[in-house]
């Protein structure tokens, strides 16, 4: 717990610095453009308000919250439908709040959510009113997937496109490596989202690089979402309430990364009863405790997990391995308190750490910590506000523990973020969202500390400071019962600030200029206006077509020229040398449901233009390098593809098939003679099949199958001898393919006999059922068997079946 305090508290104290610095910036009044843009937003808003208020006269507002009756968890994305035809409906926002406007008359409102009993309520619309609804969950946990009284057609009717919502119950049924449920691995089973590699939690969305995904946990950026070199993710499924991923049609409230937003919300905790649940698995154990702070008013949730991979090491005969450490742990905690109908406070935090230490030789630690304080306030039945103060940190240290070579290298990124988000229901045809975001970055690129006997010197690279600020406005406009628009824009900006010495470089990497700035002085700023537009046309109750255009920009860039996820992640802001990355995406799709919304089908196509992409020069050494920006080279890219998705949402047998056909190409003047070449993550074909079958009350089975074209890689096209060694020559970047990969996994869950006081279950799994050798790496070397020749050697890491078993309990 001390660790949590020491990590979260600096964030809270530095928030006062944030306001101080904010004040300094605004006093200087330096940015006419920013002011102009802000004015434009305000103008647009007031224009919208007046015109829309005029058209929205003589209507009444029904608003409230929807929550789970047994736990008090507020339900995100629950549906409120007006039964009388032609009047539409709405869904709850991320805080379970909804607001509807009705013309005078009597209406029947239908409240529904997957896995809950539906409630109908007759509402005489004669005045504004607050209706809070508590839905009863259907009894068995597993039935969340299987039964729902009223399958809805949200996917067809909502104007949003390019969004996938992960049903946590379904996600938890998918078999995974070593029984570690993992939302990051499960999302890669969706079309358009590709795994960065076997046993790797990194992912690529519609051709984007893995650092172009924004990963949010209760609004806090998670910079490195992997544990243990990417084999596991930082998300402990026990603590998670809701997962949404946006791969296109990005809502204006999100920004800062080119490819996608993964928005993960933690559970609030049960405000009725105390619950303890957990699990004991092959490599880790987990425990969650939740309960009311004040019954019906507030609750808490604490969830923790630790692996014990190092127990295997301790059994080793090698003395070095025996004394070594290899584990990770994470803690999620959240508390909330409903002061009254209008005010709710949420506090949540995450703390995770990986430890890898070889006794007396080498040690590395890395981890994320985040903290979020949120305050929901309902001004009135039309205006909902959320104010957040968010802290986020990622840091790593690498230590060489050998006495003759002692050094410790450390690096970190620290964010403090102030967010204000407002939702205003103008009428039942217009819902406005607007807000602003002030994000302060402190990046410590690296320091090296040593001792007198070491081969190394102390080195410290200057810290970098900056603000990433944004303002946005969007409107969901139901033009009529068929046509809906979701449109708006986001103004994003970056201010790179002193103190420090800032250099510019020519394309060869030589220093052109060097200037020293004082504390708080503006070094470089960038403004980008990002239009976001989606339109949907409902053909009938079961089908629709949608189209969208959006621009995204990215001002924080991950530099890591290694091909796998290592903890040595270096982040840089846009600067004199690095321009903001820009992506423009157009997409269109056809959405169709069958059999009363039991089956969902969608087909989407997209095309993306990428600007200011980053690659590395030959021989780039990125770690603790003050001139790291001299090692970069810039280019452009394009990505296009088609995604097909067919899903059975309900029934004893459910699951989905996702298929993606795509191409992603990059172009850099200094690489491949300036011609387009396939990006590493360019995968022509990508197929996932997931099936879940509930045999009876106790047994359920699941299975998934994946097939993907191999990554684009560079293989030699010749060889020569240099320095006495066989050396390979190359002619085209990424001109070859790794062999395609495929795998089948199966899982089974056995629910324990019903018991009043407790519940237990067993989960069994087999990963890689037919023991396929998925190639992880191909290397080229002198042959070990035939002298004077060379050979290609393929390495696979999971070339066998990997069984797993986990025991879960709840009381």
């Amino acid at each position: 717990m001390d660790l949590i305090y020491s990590t979260v508290l600096p964030g809270i104290s530095s928030s006062s610095n944030l306001f101080h610095s904010l004040l300094k910036i605004s006093r200087k009044g330096i940015h006419l453009q920013q002011i102009l843009c802000m004015r434009t937003i305000v103008l647009c808003l007031s224009f919208l308000c007046t015109t829309l208020t005029l058209s929205a006269q003589k209507r009444f507002i029904v608003s409230g919250t929807i929550e789970d009756r047994s736990s008090g968890e507020r339900l995100i994305g629950a549906t409120v439908k007006i039964k009388e035809p032609g009047n539409g409906g709405t869904t709850t926002n991320t805080y379970g709040f909804y607001s509807l406007s009705l013309p005078p008359g009597n209406f029947t409102l239908v409240y529904s959510y997957v896995g809950y009993d539906t409630v109908e309520k007759v509402v005489p619309a004669t005045s504004d009113q607050v209706i809070d609804i508590r839905l009863n969950p259907q009894k068995e946990l597993n039935e969340v997937v299987i039964k729902s009284n009223k399958p809805n057609n949200d996917n067809v009717a909502s104007p949003q496109m390019g969004e996938d919502k992960l049903n946590m119950a379904q996600a938890n049924s998918v078999p995974v490596l070593l029984g570690e449920k993992d939302i990051l691995k499960t999302i890669t089973l969706l079309p358009g989202i590709q795994s960065a590699g076997e046993g790797n939690t990194g992912y690529y969305v519609r051709g984007g690089a893995s650092d172009q995904n924004l990963i949010l946990l209760d609004e806090a950026t998670v910079y490195n979402a992997s544990h243990f070199f990417g084999f596991f993710s930082t998300f402990n499924s026990d603590a998670i309430k809701d997962v949404s991923i946006f791969k296109g049609g990005m809502p204006a409230e999100y920004g800062g990364r080119l490819s996608s937003v993964l928005d993960v919300k933690m559970l609030d905790g049960n405000n009725k009863d105390y619950n303890v649940e957990g699990g004991i698995g092959l490599i880790s154990s987990r425990l969650k405790i939740e309960g009311p702070i004040v019954k019906d008013k507030g609750s808490f949730m604490i969830s923790a997990r630790r692996t014990y991979i190092d127990l295997f090491l301790h059994a080793s005969s090698d003395s070095t391995l025996k004394g070594s450490s290899l584990y990770f742990y994470d803690i999620n905690a959240k508390a909330n308190y409903h002061f009254d109908d209008k005010n709710t406070l949420y506090i949540s935090g995450y703390f995770g750490k990986d430890v890898l230490e070889l006794k007396n030789i080498f040690g590395t630690l890395w981890g994320n910590s985040t903290g979020t304080i949120r305050f929901n306030h309902i001004f009135n039945n039309r205006l909902f506000s959320n104010t957040s103060l968010v802290y986020s940190n990622y840091n790593y240290t690498i230590e060489d523990l050998q006495s003759a070579n002692y050094f410790k290298a450390a690096s970190q990124i620290n964010d403090v973020n102030f967010k204000e988000d407002l939702q205003y229901s103008l009428s039942n045809v217009h819902t406005l969202k607007f807000g602003l975001n002030v994000l302060h970055h402190t990046i410590a690129p690296g320091t090296i500390t040593t001792d007198a006997a070491s081969s190394f010197n102390d080195v410290s690279v200057e810290e970098r400071y900056g603000y990433e600020n944004a303002a946005y406005v969007s409107d969901e406009w139901r033009l009529n019962s068929k046509v809906t628009f979701l449109y708006g824009f986001r103004l994003s900006s970056l201010f790179l600030l002193g103190p420090g010495t800032f250099k510019t470089y020519d394309p060869a990497g030589n220093v052109l200029t060097s200037a020293t700035y004082s504390s708080g002085a503006l070094v470089k700023d960038y403004f980008n206006l990002e239009p976001r537009f989606t339109a949907s046309y409902l053909l009938n109750d079961e089908s629709s077509v949608k189209a969208s255009y959006n621009r995204n920009t990215q001002n924080i860039h991950l530099l890591n020229n290694s091909t796998s996820s290592t903890p040595a992640d270096l982040y840089v802001m846009s600067s004199n040398n690095i321009k903001p990355e820009i992506s423009d995406q157009v997409s269109t799709g056809y959405f169709r449901n069958f059999s009363e919304n039991t089956y969902e089908f969608s087909a989407e196509i997209y095309y993306k233009w990428l600007q200011n992409q980053i690659d590395y020069k030959d021989g780039a050494q990125l770690i603790v390098n003050p001139d790291v920006e001299s090692l970069l080279t810039y280019g452009s890219g394009r990505a296009y593809g088609m995604e097909l998705f067919f899903k059975k949402k309900y029934g004893k047998f459910n699951g989905w098939v996702g298929y993606t056909l795509s191409r992603t190409e990059l172009k850099f003047a200094a690489i491949n003679d300036g011609n387009y070449f396939p990006a590493t993550q360019d995968r022509t074909n990508d197929l996932s099949v997931v099936g879940i079958y509930q045999l009876n009350d106790r047994w359920s089975f699941s299975s998934d199958f994946i097939y993907a074209t191999g990554n684009a890689v560079t293989f030699p096209t010749g060889k020569y001898v240099i320095g006495g060694l066989t050396t390979f020559s190359y002619s085209q970047r990424n001109g070859y393919r790794m062999p395609s990969s495929h795998r089948l996994d199966i899982g089974a869950t056995l629910e324990g006999k019903k018991h009043k006081k407790y519940h237990s279950s067993w989960t069994f799994g087999i990963y890689n059922v037919y023991a396929h050798r998925d190639p992880y790496l191909i290397t080229f070397q002198d042959s070990k068997t035939v002298p004077n020749t060379t050979e290609a050697v393929e390495t696979s890491i999971f070339a066998t079946r990997i069984p797993s078993v986990t025991w879960n309990f709840k009381f």
Partner: protein
């Protein structure tokens, strides 16, 4: 926990062979200096590389000396005896197939190789594996680059060791030559050559070294390392110092 396994596979690889390879070295040891010209071959061929004969090869220095190189055996061009000077710039000129290739390299000052020692290896030390450490004092205030070459019982280790003093300027350096291909055990004879090399040649070797880490530690997308020869060919031209030490591992 994770079962790693490897196997030799057949891959259909393209053929972009017949390209000129130039390897030129000028050292501080008095004797003939060598420049070797050959061509690359397809991956599937044996490791024999056709020599390039009939080229005109000269090296000149910044004191207006010009050294002629004569061919023999085929593809190997050697000079009369001379010794490279510390701090001097050397220019190589190779005329072959109607093209003139040139490259410049400056011979750095000599940094003495103090000693080489052996110690227990980081991994699998229980079976007595050893690791070699080189010791030298890096001169302060100047950029130094080094390349080490190691032979175990006469066989060259295929790992590339390219060091610089970015983090160790002015320090007494204990540099581990970590290799995992040939295992070193007590009783083995280990020879280490230390070269002080200039910056472009360091970038050449460092790029090759980075590409060698193709494993889970990460590696970079491979490419032909940046040569100091213009117009670009495969290979390099390096004026460097050389020192050698031999130990018998205890």
């Amino acid at each position: 926990m994770f079962t790693a396994c490897t196997k030799v596979i057949d891959l259909k690889l393209g053929n972009d062979s017949g390209k000129l390879v130039i390897e030129g070295n000028i050292t501080d040891v008095n004797g003939p200096q060598y420049i070797v010209l050959s061509r690359n071959v397809p991956f599937t061929s044996t490791n024999t590389y056709p020599p390039v004969s009939g080229a005109t090869v000269t090296v000149s220095d910044d004191q207006n000396n010009t050294y002629a190189f004569t061919e023999g055996p085929a593809g190997t061009y050697s000079s009369a005896q001379f010794q490279g000077n510390y701090g001097s710039n050397y220019k190589m000129t190779v005329q072959t197939g109607g093209t003139t290739y040139t490259a410049n390299s400056r011979m750095p000052s000599l940094v003495p190789l103090d000693s080489i020692t052996d110690k227990k290896a980081d991994f699998n030390s229980s079976n007595n594996r050893r690791e070699i450490t080189v010791h030298y004092h890096d001169p302060p205030g100047v950029h130094n680059q080094y390349r080490f070459i190691m032979w175990v019982n006469g066989e060259q280790v295929s790992t590339i060791f390219a060091f610089n003093d970015e983090f160790s300027d002015g320090r007494y350096v204990n540099g581990d030559l970590v290799e995992t291909i040939l295992n070193i055990y007590p009783g083995d004879t280990v020879k280490v050559e230390m070269q002080c090399i200039d910056m472009p040649v360091y970038t050449y070797w460092f790029t090759l070294m980075e590409q060698n880490f193709g494993g889970p530690d990460g590696g970079v997308a491979p490419s032909n390392p940046p040569t100091n020869i213009s117009p670009a060919s495969l290979g390099y031209f390096s004026a460097h110092t050389t020192q050698t030490k031999v130990i018998i591992v205890e």
